[in-house]
């Protein structure tokens, strides 16, 4: 990735940084947990200012509830999907180890709503396999599960029973012709459409935990799709998912540049989307180390367990 794109991406993120730390969803907005976690991940990968990063990590800690979860806001305690992102944002930062451990414990102790699969039911997936939901007491879906797997793998829990079951769940939701969507495979006998952002998240989550052969159709789908993507969430997750399997399109930098420029068409990107784009662009360049993926960390820990 060129310095200019990294620099411009970082500068755009810094404009969303709030006095005293934390990030808003958009410039001049208010603090948001998910934006802050994504902002930390992207800015730390770009070598952003340590003081801001630590202030932001501290603010995430302040937002953490007693049981370890982090929610989109205090009035919606069931919307705890930012918890996995916070675990990643606190990674390798000693002052936040206790907060990170509580968040990990929360994830390991939390499932969603699951029910026995009916042989003649409308949905084909195994509804008993537990991953993680976006919101408490709802079903497990692909992206929150993949993100939780990524966070738990990065923190050395890749072999935990919950992670192993979640890996089976994500594989069970892989579409027969490759790719993932939000998490339904066949409904009333028809195979649904794959989506690049879900596929990228699924691939990033499974890297290092399953063999390449089982995700080959999804890698093929995404390699075919990625050069046509113009929007940051799809492109960011796709570049991350491919990079997790040591793949990247030859024109990744140009794709990221075009996507960044598309803010003129779509308006200013939301912080999480911009962060995903920056992380994806960084990951596509093999010279960069993107802690977010943390596959090597997982391997290191696996070998020492």
């Amino acid at each position: 990735m060129s310095l200019s794109l990294g620099t411009r991406g970082s500068a755009a993120l810094l404009r969303r940084a709030l006095p005293g730390g934390g990030f808003s969803g958009k410039a001049r907005g208010k603090f948001q947990t998910d934006s802050t976690a994504w902002g930390i991940l992207a800015l730390s990968a770009c070598g952003g200012p340590t003081e801001l990063l630590n202030q932001s990590r501290s603010l995430l800690m302040r937002e953490q509830l007693e049981d370890g979860r982090l929610c989109v806001d205090s009035t919606h305690p069931d919307s705890f999907w930012p918890t996995a992102l916070a675990i990643l944002a606190w990674q390798d930062s000693e002052p936040y180890r206790e907060a990170q451990q509580r968040a990990i414990r929360f994830l390991l102790d939390t499932t969603g709503f699951h029910f026995p699969r009916e042989s003649d039911g409308p949905s084909a997936h195994d509804s008993q396999l537990k991953g993680w939901p976006w919101v408490g007491e709802t079903h497990s879906w692909v992206e929150p599960t993949a993100t939780a797997i990524t966070a738990l793998r990065a923190t050395g829990h890749g072999h935990h029973d919950r992670v192993q079951e979640a890996v089976r769940m994500v594989l069970d939701r892989q579409l027969p012709h490759g790719g993932w969507n939000y998490g339904n495979t066949l409904v009333f006998g028809k195979e649904l459409h794959p989506m690049p952002e879900s596929t990228g998240a699924g691939l990033a989550g499974l890297a290092g935990l399953v063999g390449r052969d089982v995700v080959l159709p999804s890698l093929s789908y995404l390699q075919d799709k990625v050069t046509r993507l113009r929007t940051p969430i799809s492109l960011g997750w796709s570049l991350l998912g491919l990079a997790a399997w040591d793949l990247s399109p030859p024109n990744a930098e140009a794709l990221a540049e075009r996507c960044l420029a598309n803010q003129g068409r779509y308006g200013e990107y939301e912080t999480s989307a911009l962060s995903l784009l920056i992380l994806g662009a960084l990951a596509a360049d093999k010279n960069n180390h993107v802690p977010f993926l943390s596959i090597s960390a997982h391997h290191d820990r696996m070998s020492s367990e």
Binding site: W134, Y182, P232, I233
Partner: protein, 341 residues
């Protein structure tokens, strides 16, 4: 969020209403106490307008304007108002443009409201399937249209929300969280697609409002709403949000395994009205579906609006002149036995 839609009570009783009243009286007279509230409701009335439009290249703005004027939506009422259009953007597939509200219907609606003197018109959507709203916005063709027309698009999946008490009380949800943006608009207009649906029978202007619930609070798909009951949630959202107007794109609809995997169905109509249950009931009749067999419509009847054909004053084309049966799939429970007979 403005005033509730126009459901005026009336003294005109239909045969169905009289039967209901008689049944209620019989039950009360015999000392039995439980009568579902919906059987005791006073009948309501509404108007809908049906326009023939066989092609997206025709004068959609002019057609919508004519329909709106027929329904009493005039310059005096719209002047200076901030209008939010909520299309049906779900996901995209290159071979299936009929999944989503056609962008030229949105362009027509924008022009119609601006010609009536609206201060601003914006488009907002929070797709339930895709985390990447902008991808659906781009791939559906809407981005080209709104960029050219310089109309603002809002991704409401990520907007912070504000809570309202659940006015519908059909589900266990005590409150509903809507995008804060909705506090800054005067009219919310559901610009839906005419489709069959594999969970609800049909998806029209009322079901379209699932997309106003921000994904950051309700997830992708909006599984919170599924968990408490899709039909309950449709009623709760509509009762609480009180949308002001509906336009249904039935120029090319979707039949069979909607809302995603069904086949295109050329109908050649735009249906509109102030009252969403009435608009949806009219659409159902055009599709060859009995609105009383679509659970959320039957439950909305004479509460959120009328669905009886006797209670809906039909303007524009007659239903009979545009009616065309949509394919229903007999292995899909929500589509079983709903054919209009």
């Amino acid at each position: 969020m403005g005033l509730p839609p126009d459901h005026r009570n009336t003294n005109g009783l239909t045969r169905r209403d009289l039967l209901r009243a008689a049944a209620a009286g019989l039950v009360i007279g015999t000392g039995l106490v439980f009568v579902p509230k919906r059987y005791l409701r006073l009948p309501q009335q509404a108007q809908t307008f049906v326009a023939k439009v066989n092609d997206y290249q025709l004068d959609i703005a002019g057609t919508l304007l004519r329909g709106m004027m027929e329904l009493g939506v005039n310059r005096e009422e719209v002047q200076g108002k901030r209008i939010l259009l909520k299309p049906n953007l779900v996901e995209t597939a290159s071979e299936s443009p009929h999944i989503n509200t056609h962008p030229l219907v949105l362009r027509g609606a924008i022009e119609a409201f601006l010609r009536l003197g609206a201060a601003t018109v914006m488009v907002a959507e929070g797709p339930g399937h895709r985390r990447d709203t902008l991808a659906v916005y781009e791939e559906s063709g809407l981005a080209d249209v709104l960029t050219e027309d310089r109309i603002k698009f809002h991704d409401i999946n990520y907007i912070t929300g504000f809570e309202l008490p659940n006015a519908g009380r059909q589900s266990t949800m005590k409150t509903l969280t809507f995008p804060a943006l909705f506090q800054e608009v005067d009219w919310i207009v559901s610009v839906a697609k005419m489709k069959t649906h594999h969970w609800t029978g049909a998806t029209l202007s009322m079901k379209n409002l699932f997309g106003v619930m921000p994904g950051r609070y309700y997830g992708w798909p909006k599984n919170v709403l599924h968990k408490v009951g899709i039909q309950n949630s449709i009623l709760d959202i509509n009762a609480t949000l009180k949308p002001h107007f509906a336009i249904v794109d039935g120029i090319i609809g979707m039949e069979g395994d909607g809302p995603i995997m069904g086949q295109p169905k050329q109908v050649g109509v735009l249906v509109m009205g102030r009252n969403l249950p009435a608009v949806d009931a009219t659409c159902c009749r055009i599709m060859g579906i009995d609105p009383y067999k679509v659970s959320y419509l039957e439950r909305a009847d004479n509460w959120l609006g009328p669905i009886s054909d006797r209670s809906i004053e039909q303007r524009g084309e007659t239903i009979a002149s545009v009616q065309t049966n949509f394919e229903l799939i007999d292995t899909i429970p929500a589509q079983q036995g709903i054919r209009l007979t």
